[in-house]
């Protein structure tokens, strides 16, 4: 089964809940197990949160669009934003070290994204950061 979901997001971290809710519905309609939809949602959560917290912080002209597709056993998304050029794949991921006293969580989001996605691709085009991500899914 092939399906597509297009969303336009406000520059507000509360939008993350709406994205995950929508993705859960989309996944259920496409026969994707809830656990896998949530794993994909986690990667989107991390990337969207980064865009809103850093790239578009304090901007009233921020644009974020999200397109999600399912087909051929793959969940695929393209996330675009008009923030300054930023390739999250080139940023340092946090090494999972340190104890409770010293541990920081910076960079951990990207570690999770890289760990859970099967393919990630960044390009800058027409004033937008465009991140494409893919995750293989097994039908329920």
């Amino acid at each position: 089964m092939t399906g597509r979901l297009d969303m336009s997001l406000a520059n507000d971290v509360q939008e993350v809940a709406r994205v995950i809710d929508s993705l859960e519905e989309f996944g259920a309609a496409n026969g994707i197990p809830a656990e896998q939809s949530l794993r994909f949602g986690l990667a989107l959560d991390e990337l969207i949160t980064n865009i809103i917290s850093y790239g578009l912080a304090g901007r009233s002209d921020g644009i974020i669009t999200l397109a999600i597709e399912h087909g051929g056993g793959v969940l695929r998304a393209e996330l675009a934003d008009n923030g300054p050029p930023f390739d999250p794949l080139a940023a340092d991921a946090a090494p999972p070290v340190g104890d409770i006293e010293t541990r920081e969580v910076g960079g951990l989001g990207l570690t999770l994204v890289k760990s859970f996605m099967d393919r990630l691709d960044y390009r800058r085009a027409d004033g937008f950061n465009r991140l494409t991500m893919e995750m293989k899914v097994k039908a329920a």
Binding site: E15, E35, L38, D45, E46, P96, I100, V105, G109, F116
Partner: protein, 112 residues
């Protein structure tokens, strides 16, 4: 008033977040947990039975809560995590920092 499900068991504060701790809900969890810890308990168990999802924002507020518990002379550990949550804890190394337990009772014993 907090919306975070919680109870006190043998002096330990058991927090039972439901559904998701994502970027949009992490702050509420942090505030609720801080308010409950201010009432005196030093030991905290996160009962993840009803938790389907946690993001790095959720990990951050658990770490903040754990630091607060430790500063008070107690600690924090996690019980009953589902597979999705376990995966995130494993990738982040948080499973080793806090420990994962199969039951709330075991988790409370581990903090004793």
């Amino acid at each position: 008033m907090t919306s975070l499900n919680h109870e006190t068991v043998n002096g330990a504060l058991v927090l039972k977040p439901s559904r998701r701790i994502d970027s949009s809900s992490a702050k509420a969890f942090e505030d609720d947990a801080a308010a409950l810890l201010d009432k005196g308990p030093k030991k905290v168990v996160i009962d993840a039975t009803d938790l389907d999802y946690i993001s790095s924002a959720g990990l951050r507020v658990i770490l903040t809560t754990a630091k607060k518990a430790k500063a008070a002379g107690g600690g924090l550990t996690i019980a009953c995590a589902k597979n999705n949550v376990k995966e995130v804890l494993a990738v982040s190394g948080f499973d080793n920092i806090f420990g994962l337990h199969d039951s709330v009772a075991q988790a409370i014993s581990a903090l004793a």
